[in-house]
């Protein structure tokens, strides 16, 4: 049977600890040459405006496989992209234009032994968890051992997952949260403090958050820089989930720079129809000037496996760029979730024959 699972199933069967250990294991497989990520492939077309604002359609695909787990994964998003200005900041977001005002993102898992499709499920909850777990793994392996104060820039869904994930890898004393809207950051801290068991402090400015912080985690949807070179302090570990959050000069100034996947840092994966506007890419290109060669930077797999050295002392600054999705993460997290979901008998069973064929393709 092929399982159709839901975001609720992911929430029920897959914890942040599961995600952290699945990703850490697969990063080791990557370093051993037993797991890999394919090239990302995006196609973008014009589409109808959304609430009067320019919109573009984007089909984004990433894939990967972990031979040791025997699982391959494909993750796709089929998105209506918009770039509204919210609280004075231009944001990259997606319009829920599928029936019932929903978004579209899916993960499919395959057996590398039989080729069969094992499961299909929405990507949302797993996406949030795997991004946060990856940032937290960078903190686990690169931040100072005694790091205890986190500055969290952002108070959205991704930011919440990051607070949880970071609390699992270091004994934190405080997470200081800045986001432009006072009420939002206050509610965010109040709600999360109980769940995470770490003091959460809303602060009035990004400077107040980062001053004295051991870890700075940017987790916003902002299109503008939210953390700057001048704010760096000795020993800090900075992580970002989006190209453009960090001032380019800050990235260049870090003593230790770690990236996700050298093969997927460029834009070669991206194809667009002329009329389709991609403000993301405008921005990314701007942020990237003079930085087209990422091959010399160690990857997180290099660091986790011990192949390359991250931080060498407590005074160094370090930076992890957690973007340009790493498809193999969906094989890793997907495999762990799938086995748990099977045990718990979650999801809708569909006949695998619906998704296989008796003719040679």
């Amino acid at each position: 049977m092929t399982l159709v699972l839901s975001n609720e199933d992911v929430e029920a069967a897959f914890t942040m600890e599961d995600c952290l250990s699945a990703l850490e294991e697969t990063y080791r497989h990557v370093a051993e040459g037993q797991a890999l990520t394919g090239r990302r492939s995006d196609v973008m077309t014009p589409t109808e405006p959304y609430q009067g604002e320019e919109a573009s359609y984007l089909l984004k695909i990433m894939n990967g496989a972990d031979a040791k787990l025997g699982i391959a994964a494909l993750r796709l998003t089929s998105e209506i992209m918009i770039w509204p200005e919210i609280s004075g900041v231009r944001r990259r977001t997606k319009a829920p234009r599928a029936p019932n005002d929903r978004w579209v993102g899916l993960v499919m898992l395959f057996s590398t032994t039989t080729g069969e499709p094992l499961a299909i499920f929405p990507d949302g909850v797993m996406q949030k968890m795997r991004v946060a777990a990856t940032s937290a793994l960078s903190a686990k392996f690169i931040a100072r051992e005694d790091a205890e104060i986190v500055a969290l820039i952002g108070a959205g869904w991704q930011a919440g997952a990051h607070a949880l994930a970071l609390s699992k890898v270091r004994a934190l004393k405080e997470i200081r949260v800045f986001s432009p809207t006072k009420k939002r950051r206050e509610t965010f801290c109040k709600e999360l403090q109980e769940e995470i068991g770490v003091t959460m402090s809303p602060v009035d400015s990004p400077e107040a958050a980062v001053q004295g912080a051991d870890i700075v985690q940017c987790a916003t949807s902002a299109m503008e820089n939210v953390y700057f070179k001048d704010w760096m302090q000795p020993g800090v570990h900075v992580a970002t989930i989006r190209d453009g959050e960090l001032e380019p000069a800050m990235i260049d100034a870090a003593d230790v720079l770690v990236i996700h996947d050298p093969a997927n840092m460029g834009h070669a994966h991206f194809q667009a129809i002329g009329g389709a506007r991609n403000k993301d890419h405008d921005n990314e290109t701007a942020g990237r000037e003079g930085r087209d060669d990422w091959t010399s930077a160690p990857s997180l797999a290099d660091i986790i496996s011990g192949k390359k050295t991250g931080r060498e002392n407590d005074n160094q600054t370090s930076c992890f760029l957690n973007y340009r999705g790493f498809g193999v993460q969906f094989a890793a997290a997907g495999a762990a979730f799938y086995h748990k979901a099977k045990e718990m008998k979650l999801g809708h069973d569909l006949p695998t024959d619906w998704f296989t064929e008796d003719v040679l393709p």
Copy 2:
């Protein structure tokens, strides 16, 4: 609702004429910059041997979108690749190792207006049809107007679809068929002649097939060259569905060379784990020496749209390389099939909510 359709549904609702006209239309959209193909992305890993023979797992993804049709498509195959020797020839094929001895290939269609998944179905029948229709479109736009004799090398599934497709684009008098096994080519001709309404003649050697033929169509699973420079005659149009079927010197000698998609001719899409053997790529690289730059060759879209000139006179030789899949074809053929399937109320309706989400991915 999201439709789950089958190969039988494709056979019931989608004719070769439908396929030819859908592809021709989308090729024009490609030339206008209103349809496009993404980068292909393949990941390969080692897997268990199949019947004692070395095997590799391959997850292969292509995508594309036609903005005028409002449809984007993803096509994946999740394959156990093997390279057995059959009738003295090494062939590239796929082991049916999914439950009930089945293969795995899927097409997914999305609306570029809402992002929603419209349909999912096995790729086998459509794959055969779109490859054959593409070869036939090359004949329609590049072969001599008066072409009436076809040499068909191969007597498998793809070859059969090619015979049908070619019969739709030229008034054919005879299709001569060579394949190594006498009984196979005889049965093939006997069965198809009635369906297609063209004289089908099994012949004893490839030379006997190609001598005096106006169109040479290679449609084999062979890993070795099956058509050679020395066999070329003035005015012939040669098409191939697989890298390696044509002797490289033959390709170089053609007066008019047309390819599928300059952006997807290279191997940049391919990522493999060390232990995974890819005899395909061994072969392709060998066949390609000195031919890494394909950017100067016109694409089929250039020719169909009239942007570039194909054949200029009846004495020129022409050659079309029908490989390196062109993802947008699945958007074209998929859209035509989907609308027909809806009309005919085919398939299983599944709730679209299963494949969409209420959280922003």
